[in-house]
């Protein structure tokens, strides 16, 4: 009797064990990276003696690389290669590519289910070896992956390198992903204006030119007044791209529902050349920035007229209509600090764009936005290179707004 009793559970256990091994104990198989198809989309840039290449596999390519559905877990690998022909060691800052990147063994942990012990160890080692080294000695080349957070659309990121010789390099990449067109990609910026139309300015003539530019956007017909241009951004294309990346703004897809409100606003008959959004981590509210290229240049740097606002979603409504906050100044102040803290702002000034509009008697736009403002337009001059918090220059035009 005592001999019999343990038998049936024992055999049951064995059976379960066999079943588990049969379906869960798979070995690990990965693909050779050198032969992966996504490398055909590699983008390369060079600065001095440093050459950086980048490529991003899509969901399917990622799955076939490692046999792991990383996109489904919100992980997007970015392949980087750094070739250091300088005389000094350079150090890659992975933080610059994604400040919340996943470590290789963290990705392995997220995908640990279903492998045999050996299979899991092999998968961990593969991901560990696939990650890029931070240090690239002089005359050498390193390549590998950074595991970033998945974002829809063009994969934009900075690649910062510091050198032992007190020098830093910043590369900015926009790697197009199959199947996504951002709104600005549909604009032919080179042919928006003829050479005769573009006014060349210097720092002394800039203020007057900005003050003469229109106060506000219009409707499509150009007859009814829209929201004010409460911001001007000045910088090279690279400076603007980097500023948006450093401050964590997202591009928007051409004709997406998200930018329906923005597309009502027009400047010279054009809807925004580019609309960027920044969504809160803890809620549905978002900041929006709409930019139009103006026919102005300062020492070769482009000038953009913009509108920035806070979009609030009606959480109590089924159809979820959204509203731009009447307090458009608050959004401008946020944008200024955002570029300042993310080391992109080099000069800051304010000009008078409209008359003051009090909250008690708001102005209404053609599309029903009721706003109030102190009437100031922020002029944000952006830098390609990082600028310390203390080094931002006040242009000292209009005095800074009260709030």
């Amino acid at each position: 009797m005592p001999l019999n009793k343990p038998h049936s559970p024992y055999w049951l256990l064995c059976l379960c064990g066999l079943l588990l091994v049969g379906c869960a104990g798979r070995p690990y198989v990965s693909q050779d990276i050198a032969s992966a198809g996504f490398l055909a989309r590699t983008v390369t840039q060079e600065q001095a003696a440093i050459r950086v290449s980048a490529a991003v596999p899509d969901a399917g390519e990622t799955a076939s690389l490692w046999g792991l559905s990383l996109y489904e877990k919100g992980v997007q690998p970015v392949w980087i290669e750094v070739e250091n022909s300088s005389a000094d060691t350079v150090r890659l800052s992975i933080w610059s590519i994604d400040s919340d990147y996943y470590s290789p063994l963290e990705v392995a942990w997220m995908n640990r289910g279903g492998y045999s012990k050996e299979g899991r160890a092999a998968m961990e080692r593969t991901l560990y070896d696939a990650a890029i080294d931070r240090r690239i000695p002089p005359g050498e080349k390193r390549s590998g992956f950074v595991f970033t957070h998945l974002r829809p659309g063009t994969k934009g990121f900075n690649v910062d390198l510091i050198s032992t010789e007190l020098r830093s390099y910043t590369f900015t990449f926009f790697v197009p992903m199959p199947g996504f067109t951002a709104d600005y990609m549909a604009v032919d910026f080179e042919n928006l204006y003829t050479d005769d139309e573009v006014t060349d300015l210097n720092i002394d003539t800039l203020r007057a030119a900005l003050e003469q530019s229109p106060c506000c956007a219009t409707d499509a017909s150009g007859t009814q007044q829209g929201a004010p241009f409460n911001v001007v951004m000045i910088g090279t294309d690279l400076a603007l791209d980097r500023a948006m990346l450093r401050a964590d703004w997202q591009e928007t897809e051409l004709n997406s529902a998200t930018t329906a409100l923005a597309r009502e606003q027009h400047y010279r008959g054009r809807r925004p050349d580019g609309t960027f959004i920044k969504t809160r981590g803890d809620g549905a509210e978002r900041k929006e920035l709409r930019l139009w290229l103006a026919p102005l240049q300062v020492a070769g740097e482009r000038v953009w007229l913009g509108q920035t606002g806070t979009v609030v979603i009606d959480r109590f409504s089924q159809s979820a209509p959204s509203l731009i906050s009447p307090d458009i100044d608050a959004a401008l102040i946020y944008l200024i600090q955002n570029t300042w803290y993310s080391q992109s702002l080099q000069r800051l000034g304010f000009i008078r764009a409209t008359n003051e509009v009090s909250p008690a008697a708001p102005t209404e736009t053609f599309d029903g936005l009721r706003y109030h403002t102190n009437g100031l337009r922020g002029v944000l001059w952006l830098s390609e290179e990082p600028v310390g918090l203390d080094d931002v220059v006040n242009l000292e035009w209009e005095s800074m707004p009260r709030d």
Binding site: S93, I94, W95, S96, S99, D100, S103, P104, L105, E106, W109, M110, Y128, A131, D133, R134, R135, D160, I162, L166, R167, S168, R280, D282, G283, E285, T310, V312, I313, D314, R315, F316, P321, L323, S325, P326, D327, A330, A331, I333, Y334, Q337, N338, W340, Y341, Q343, P359, A360, P386, V387, G388, L389, D390, D391, E396, S399, M400, P401, R402, D403
Partner: protein
């Protein structure tokens, strides 16, 4: 200003210390300026002064906030921070709310968390928040007060206040304001009394290298018998600059382990709700538990980094030298020793390098270098920490000099200390 508001202001004024009444009394008397004063939420006022700037702050608890604003702000992740800025100088000053919380709320955003569009469009709805907000510009000689709407911090509300002046002065202050409900590590250590004067050693660069290399490889348990996580981070800097920099980089203080908080952690980890102040267990160096414990949350409680620091008896150019440990939690697993603990990333060098980058992107560092002292453990021959997690390492410690003024990436100096990591 409604009569109701006036009555509140009077009550609050009666409850606050003499200095506050004096400063309120000294403020400009014209109508516009008086209208901008917003009374503090309670008597728990914290004051700091530097140069021409005098800052006072107070945080209303959940109930106090409800009494003031008429809605339960805390339930929607909104915590008002009351500030009073006294500009005693000749230049205008500009307050940067982003320094207090990188994701602060505008008054309308705050209102939108409680009311639908229909109510939002009625001016009095938003005005409830708008008229109590803190202005950004504080002109020469002025006193201004009001609220910034930040995300909720339980326990000690720790935040930086950044103020720039038109005279090119930058003021940086760090506040630690306890909000009833949670006990935190902060200020439980009296740093001045950690060492007797004769124990303090002032070291030069060679002495710093030798001193750091001579420190134990790893933390221990309370008895000092078993070795745990490697001590692979070191700082040179004073406590104020250290706290300022950690907060700027998004690190929170942590709660000491109590039964109730362990329960909160467990619940939060199961529900993935991101309880930001999950406690850390005590680890030991110099025979005592950590002097400072901080953490930086990522997507959920399972994805966060913990660091612990101990002040050493060394001083370099007058600044204390710190040694510490950092780990990246990548999940929760069950152990026999502590019931639940975090699964840490075995690649501790990767975590160390992450911290270095996190600190220099928050403009906190002036110099970096490396020393040995941990002892290498290769990938295939890992060592174990006190909870049985394996780790491998190149055996180096990163040394970070904390700057008292912000340094951009291109100003970061590499200090040669004799060794450099070869791989990662």
């Amino acid at each position: 200003m409604t009569s109701l508001h006036r009555a509140n202001a009077l009550n609050a004024l009666l409850a606050i210390p003499v200095t506050m009444i004096l400063s309120a009394w000294l403020m400009p008397a014209n109508a516009e300026d008086t209208a901008q004063q917003v009374p503090p939420p309670n008597e728990r006022l914290h004051v700091q002064a530097e140069g021409d700037l005098r800052l006072t702050s107070a945080i209303p608890g959940a109930d106090e906030a409800r009494d003031i604003f008429g809605v339960n702000l805390y339930s929607k992740n909104v915590q008002p921070v009351w500030l009073q800025v006294e500009n005693l100088g000749d230049d205008d000053m500009w307050l940067l709310p982003l320094g207090i919380d990188a994701a602060y709320y505008t008054p309308l955003e705050t209102a939108s968390r409680h009311f639908g569009l229909e109510r939002l469009l009625q001016p009095e709805t938003v005005n409830q928040f708008q008229r109590r907000k803190m202005v950004r510009m504080i002109k020469a000689g002025e006193v201004r007060s009001g609220y910034i709407f930040s995300r909720v911090d339980e326990g000690t509300k720790s935040f930086n206040v950044d103020v720039v002046s038109t005279g090119d002065e930058t003021y940086r202050m760090t506040f630690f304001i306890p909000v009833p409900g949670l006990r935190l590590d902060h200020y439980e250590t009296n740093f001045d009394e950690l060492y007797d004067a004769e124990e303090i050693v002032e070291v030069d660069l060679a002495g710093l290298i030798a001193g750091l290399e001579a420190l134990p490889c790893c933390v221990t348990d309370a008895k000092g018998e078993n070795f745990g996580d490697p001590l692979n981070i070191a700082f040179v800097g004073n406590i104020d600059d250290m706290y300022y920099s950690f907060l700027r980089a998004g690190w929170d203080e942590t709660e000491t382990i109590y039964k109730s908080s362990l329960w909160k952690t467990l619940k939060s980890s199961l529900a993935n709700s991101g309880y930001r102040y999950s406690p850390v267990s005590a680890l030991y160096v110099f025979g005592r538990p950590q002097d400072i414990a901080l953490q930086r949350t990522r997507a959920s409680i399972n994805q966060r980094n913990h660091l612990r620091l101990w002040m050493t008896p060394m001083k370099f150019e007058g600044e204390p030298v710190w040694i510490g440990q950092i780990s990246r939690d990548i999940g929760v697993r069950f152990t026999t020793k502590t019931i639940t603990t975090h699964k840490i990333d075995a690649d501790v060098d990767e975590t160390r390098e992450f911290l270095l980058e996190d600190m220099y992107y928050s403009q906190a560092l002036s110099k970096i270098g490396y020393v040995s002292g941990v002892g290498a453990a290769p990938y295939d021959e890992p060592r174990g920490n006190l909870t049985g997690d394996p780790y491998f390492t190149d055996g180096l410690r990163v040394v970070m000099w904390v700057s008292s003024s912000p340094k951009s990436l291109s100003e970061l100096k590499i200090q040669e200390l004799g060794v450099w990591p070869q791989a990662r």
